[in-house]
Symmetry: C2
Subunit: 829 residues, 2 copies
């Protein structure tokens, strides 16, 4: 095996400009305003709760890359215009709507507007705090006439009250007297205009398939809107989808000076303008309490009433209580979720930012999915993908199982649409859409969309893990089983039998997670996961029959299930074709993957990366080259089916031909690198994932945070370095701490018992923080954990250790069992 030395990896410190973004373990601050990368900071400083997201736009609303206020599930539809049509192509597109903006608060001093670009700022500071759950900004503005004004604002999207956001804006005259005006707005930015004209102008000629599309017709149709004293209300119907949304705001003012209020409203904008004559030392604070409600169908009138009730309650409870609830909620969150890495504050900060993003993306989604970008940007049109199940749900399952349950119930509610989609594709059972908001398939490019049938198994996988980690058989028996059965059905209908001595079951014409090869036969990942899906269906149905006969009978009747079908699942699972190349000792990514020419990545110029933005799909699809490594992911999800030798050989084969052009790649490479002994490579990949958005490593953080990667960083910490595995409910640990780490500590709740687990270079310690007892194993040794006392297990090292990184096999190494040698090249430039 050739080995490439790791180029000296960036230290975590160095990923960010630390004068601008200093290290702090519990918050992230920005110390300079820089207009050149507004998009990144807007994503990074988003506040949200899984239901409502406010992108980190500045209050002034002028300097911006993309204004964004997102309500999970609030979307518009549009007819997909296929350049060439074919039967069964998705016909209706879905895209998240820019909900009315309540963030905008403009300041005028001496009738001059505050402008981050043009005004002289003596001080600038913006901080997202992970325990307060607030975004605070503090500026000192020296006006052209030499006056000094302190401008402080705070923004909170409430975890405790998902329809609630609170914004405060305080202006203090540090030097000089001046007239001050504060203009608070509710503004339809999807269709309307503000003082600075049209927003979100995108260059239509720019090409990036990962971005969203835009509308030219009016999307938000004004319904009821009114003002009543300090309260404003706007409501809309979304033109084609028929959804409704309402936003209401109350305004509270405090000042020593006399404040005059004037308000105005039309269908697209509500304004409350507060004017005062401030003398030096005086200040004014405007507090804006905002409520959003949305619905697929109820009239705007009803939503207006709901907003009113939220606002009335806050009026009664008081604003400061809302901030208290936020702290309390987050305190509990960190109590069950925190991960610490000793002596590494830059890593610690980034970990907490990632975990905070997971709360912001998922906590209060309740009834909706978790979009690929959370509620931080409009990338991927706000769609839900398989990322949720494979990258986010492991974290939620082991730390906030209720959030995981909500995400799974959302999939259960999508079953009718998934059944319809299966019919479109001539399959039995259910086929979950590759990308969707409403539950209907919105993927217009089947090769890297509809053909990813594996999503059915991914959903069942997440469900199985959740049930195993929680013992929530109630949910499984009542709802989950329908997902399990209908997905198993899809697999037996999709595949077919080949009889050759033994019978083998084959699945053709599918795309695995790796989108650099598409529509292939017997994709290893797909077949491994389909086998899991079928086995789990058999076991679930059998267990249900044995333990809950009444619910079993109801289910069998509801789903028209008979024993023959269960036997067929079992037979197909046992006979599933799992491609393996004896000579190389590796699992080909698909039946014919190894027959492809090898892309010479080492000699591909950096300017041609990512490949998808520089090569036609037909070029990429011809080669052995990966966006992310399917087989490596299969080894993570179904590790018990691979030997240690296979894991090492597979990793060493695929790692050098994996571009990592997908942000889903690095975390998985990290976990398996750690398992097979490439600890430092694992750390390298981990850093790439940890800082993918904070350091904008893929140059598209402006479209929103890569939520799957935030989930993956937790998986890399716990499954990778922590070496935790959950094979069929059996929890085991085999840690892989990098050399430079002295201590890794994480929380995990298993069947109601919350553990704190601490890995050092020579031991692993378990402490039961809450609940009774749980049994786990450490490197084969069984350990029973109780609340009586912590348990420490000594470790003899951190597994095998290999240096550097596997390097691309030269042609000699690429000789196959049949003696074939395949050329390696870079497509002609």
């Amino acid at each position: 095996m050739n080995v490439t030395p790791l180029t000296s990896p960036l230290s975590p410190e160095a990923f960010l400009d630390r004068t601008r973004y200093p290290v702090d373990e519990w918050e992230i601050s920005e110390k300079q305003f820089d207009e050149s990368d507004l998009g990144r900071s807007e994503s990074i400083f988003t506040t949200g709760n899984g239901y409502l997201g406010m992108r980190g736009n500045h209050e002034e609303g002028h300097e911006h890359q993309e204004h964004g206020t997102f309500i999970n599930g609030l979307h518009e539809t549009f007819p997909i215009l296929h350049a060439e049509q074919a039967y069964g192509f998705a016909q209706v597109g879905q895209t998240i709507v820019n909900a009315p903006d309540a963030k905008t608060i403009r300041l005028y001093v001496d009738d001059e507007p505050l402008s981050l670009r043009d005004s002289e700022l003596l001080h600038y500071d913006r901080t997202l705090n992970f325990t307060e759950g607030t975004l605070k900004r503090s500026l000192i503005w020296m006006t052209p006439s030499g006056k000094k004004v302190l401008v402080q604002s705070e923004r909170m999207v409430s975890f405790a009250e998902r329809h609630l956001a609170v914004l405060t804006f305080t202006v203090t005259m540090l030097e000089g007297n001046a007239p001050i005006a504060i203009s608070c707005q509710l503004l339809n930015r999807q269709d309307g205009k503000d003082e600075y004209g049209v927003f979100n102008k995108k260059d239509d000629l720019e090409f990036d398939p990962r971005k969203t599309n835009s509308f030219t017709d009016r999307v938000l149709q004004p319904q009821i809107f009114w003002q009543d004293g300090p309260r404003s209300m706007l409501s809309y119907r979304v033109a084609r989808s028929g959804m409704t949304v309402a936003v209401g705001a109350d305004h509270y003012v405090e000042s020593e000076a006399d404040v005059v209020e004037r308000s105005s409203i039309d269908g697209d904008i509500a304004k409350h303008v507060f004017r005062l004559q401030a003398t030096e030392g005086q200040s004014v604070t405007v507090t804006k309490v905002v409520s959003y409600h949305s619905s697929p169908s109820v009239p705007a009138r009803e939503l207006v009433d709901r907003c009113r009730r939220t606002l009335d309650r806050v009026e009664t409870e008081g604003v400061s209580l809302q901030f208290d609830k936020q702290r309390e909620w987050l305190s509990e969150y960190w109590e069950r979720s925190d991960v610490t890495v000793e002596g590494n504050p830059a890593v610690q900060q980034a970990i907490r930012w990632n975990l905070f993003q997971l709360a912001q993306a998922s906590a209060r989604a309740e009834g909706h999915g978790i979009p690929a970008k959370g509620l931080t940007g409009s990338g991927y049109s706000g769609h839900y993908f398989w990322d949720t199940e494979i990258y986010v749900l492991p974290y939620l399952t082991y730390t906030s199982p209720r959030f995981a349950r909500n995400a799974l119930r959302f999939r259960y509610n999508m079953l009718p649409a998934a059944r319809r989609r299966a019919v479109d594709l001539n399959e039995r059972g259910a086929l979950f859409p590759w990308r969707t908001i409403s539950g209907e398939e919105a993927s217009a490019y089947y090769a890297a969309g509809t053909a990813q049938f594996h999503i059915d198994a991914d959903i069942t996988y997440a469900l199985a893990k959740y049930v195993s980690a929680t013992n929530d058989d109630e949910f499984l028996a009542r709802e989950g089983v329908d997902v399990v059965v209908e997905t198993a059905r899809m697999w037996t209908d999709l595949g077919f039998w080949r009889h050759s001595g033994d019978e083998t079951f084959h699945i053709h014409g599918v795309t695995g997670p790796d989108e650099y090869t598409t529509v292939v036969n017997d994709n290893l990942f797909t077949n491994v996961m389909a086998r899991f899906n079928l086995e789990y269906a058999v076991n679930t149905v059998r267990r249900l029959a044995a333990t809950r006969p009444e619910e079993y009978a109801q289910m069998a009747n509801r789903l028209n299930l008979d024993e023959n079908e269960v036997l067929e699942w079992s037979h197909a699972a046992r006979s599933m074709n799992i491609p393996f190349d004896e000579h190389l000792g590796i699992h080909p990514q698909d039946a014919h993957f190894l027959e492809r020419e090898v892309w010479d990545l080492e000699n591909t110029p950096a300017s041609m990366r990512p490949l998808l933005l520089h090569y036609h799909p037909l070029v990429i699809y011809r080669f052995q080259v990966l966006k992310q490594a399917d087989v490596v992911l299969a080894m993570l999800l179904q590790g018990e089916y691979f030997t240690e030798e296979q894991k090492l050989a597979n990793f060493e084969y695929y790692d050098p031909i994996t571009t990592g052009d997908s942000t889903l790649s690095a975390v998985v490479q990290s976990i398996i690198a750690a398992e097979v002994g490439y600890h430092e490579l694992a750390l390298h990949y981990f850093h790439n994932a940890l800082f993918v958005d904070l350091a904008d490593l893929h140059n598209n953080t402006s479209d929103g945070v890569h939520v799957a990667s935030t989930g993956g960083t937790w998986s890399a910490l716990v499954f990778g370095f922590g070496g935790m595995k959950d094979h069929r409910g059996h929890i085991s640990f085999d840690p892989r701490l990098p050399k430079s780490w002295t201590k890794l500590s994480f929380k995990m709740t298993i069947r109601g018992t919350r553990l704190r687990i601490t890995v050092t270079q020579d031991s692993i310690e378990f402490e039961v923080e809450d609940g009774d007892s749980v049994s786990v194993s450490v490197r084969g040794q069984s350990v029973t954990l109780t609340s009586a006392a912590p348990v420490t297990v000594a470790l003899d090292g951190q597994g095998p250790r290999r240096s550097g990184a596997p390097s691309a096999r030269d042609l000699r190494d690429n000789r196959r069992a049949d003696g074939t040698l395949i050329t390696q090249s870079v497509p002609h430039l």
Copy 2:
């Protein structure tokens, strides 16, 4: 081998309702007006010359399925809106424009309009005559007040003058006196409105990928327009493509009665209205002489001048001379092109209609391609495909080589665009677009478009056949060689080497002609044709170096060609991987075709055909099921590389899994069926091709005539039943007359010598009609033909004869060399 009896085939008589469409060997007549299938008759009764096409719309312009006047190459462009974008996807769509309509002539008697739907017609007759080259219509109209009016019209698009069309309209009062008005129009039907409102309203929700798309914005922007006495002129600029078009018309009137003329014009319509008071027995004739000119770029002003010159010339020469020239032109055409089948007038009529369509599609294309629908309809957006080279050029090459040369020069002129497209796909050399008008790729669905790299070889193939049949080395040396070299270059860059004892050359990620499997590896058709392309390039370059050293040197310099590259072509050609399955004795359609599940066509309901309109591509692509048989086509084009046994085995394997959902399928199946001995099946397929449009067998003749199929019927007659082969310039015959045919006779020009070849059940006769001498062979026996006397060679039968048709192999037969048995099924409904 299982055999399915042929269901008693339809007699040629029975394909059409013979009371409506009586049999006549030299024309096709319609004896009843039937509004229910206007689309079909509009296509069938088109008049055209390859440059200008007038769809068979009725003069009144009211009852219609689609109005159509097409000028070859006159197109509009539009941005392709990809539902999901990727690098290298075609960005600009092209679609043929509906040129201003000069066909419309409305008649009013007693101020009542003649309406085919509402008026009482005592007589109706419409005839397209293949020797006159005219479409004539004759009606007797009984008006509501009981008057009888004879209405005769004639329409000719001139073969002799490609910018010219002549229309006459004669009204005779058979009984009664009445005021008559005849309104002649030039009308922009692309954007304008006529008396009956908007035309060509299509149901946007209707789904058929084979149809064209429509515009909502104005396409034809009026430029200069004027009237001057009996002359009208309209001209336009096409909005986005910037092309220009002008149409002018002169009007001549003859009548015993006094005729008053009034004319009017605006940017979208020019009218000349002729009024008279006709008494019984009187008649009036209006003759409309029309000229069209179009250009990619010259100003409309210049085109108007060109129209004027055409009209002036006709004014000088007289109208009747134009009809004489038309007859003369067609007389020469039939002299060198006719095919006769003795004693079978229904077949004879259909053959001549097909051959007439070929003239109408290609004769005066000159500088343009031959669209898939000719100039008969807007199907496939007026695009040019590989159909031209493989289905139409054989006929032109052997009967009207000048037309073939023009079509090949058109491809030569596309080389710069093809070089650009190769760069988009990271290939060297040239990649011809899958579908185009302008030369740029317009295929927006790469799987069944861009991936069909075989088009490069198809073009070189047609060029090679043309050069071989004409000895036009001049063209080859000066222009053709550039196509040959640049296409060969593309193949060596696209493919790659596998070293395994011997080196083999592989081509991955391509789609063959069969669009029911896409993006496959080592597609047999593609590899066989690429091998041809490479070999021909080697031979051409070598021959050029030997015979025309100066031109060789220029070419080598122009194309930067060195000897190493030629050696690489030669090496790749010799090492080309040609998939073959030893056990089945067949050539798999691609490397992994035989691993697919087999689609059970016999048990697929007719309501689910064609498959492409009822199954998602992902479903179809998973199966062994064909739209058209690639391997069978390869055996036609490169027959010398297949043994007789292989031909039989391949045909018997593929025929039962071929749906024939493409009209390109039947003719090829017919030819190879005849060669391997299924004469009656060959006849069955031949009839299906011969009547595909006349009997609307694919239910889409309304979109236009299937020009490839018309060319294919000639191939089926000559290559199939006539058994003619041209292997590397060696012409041979091995006839396969069906039992029911007594005599087949056809013309063929080989290297300047025109032959008449007559096949009977026991002989083949050659007569040199023009030119010197030529050598051919008959079943291995060499024959030299001279103008001295006809030569007759006795035939011992018509080759092997097998009954019925091959039937789908049952599972036993489907066992492969490795013992594998694959299931057979119909996708779940």
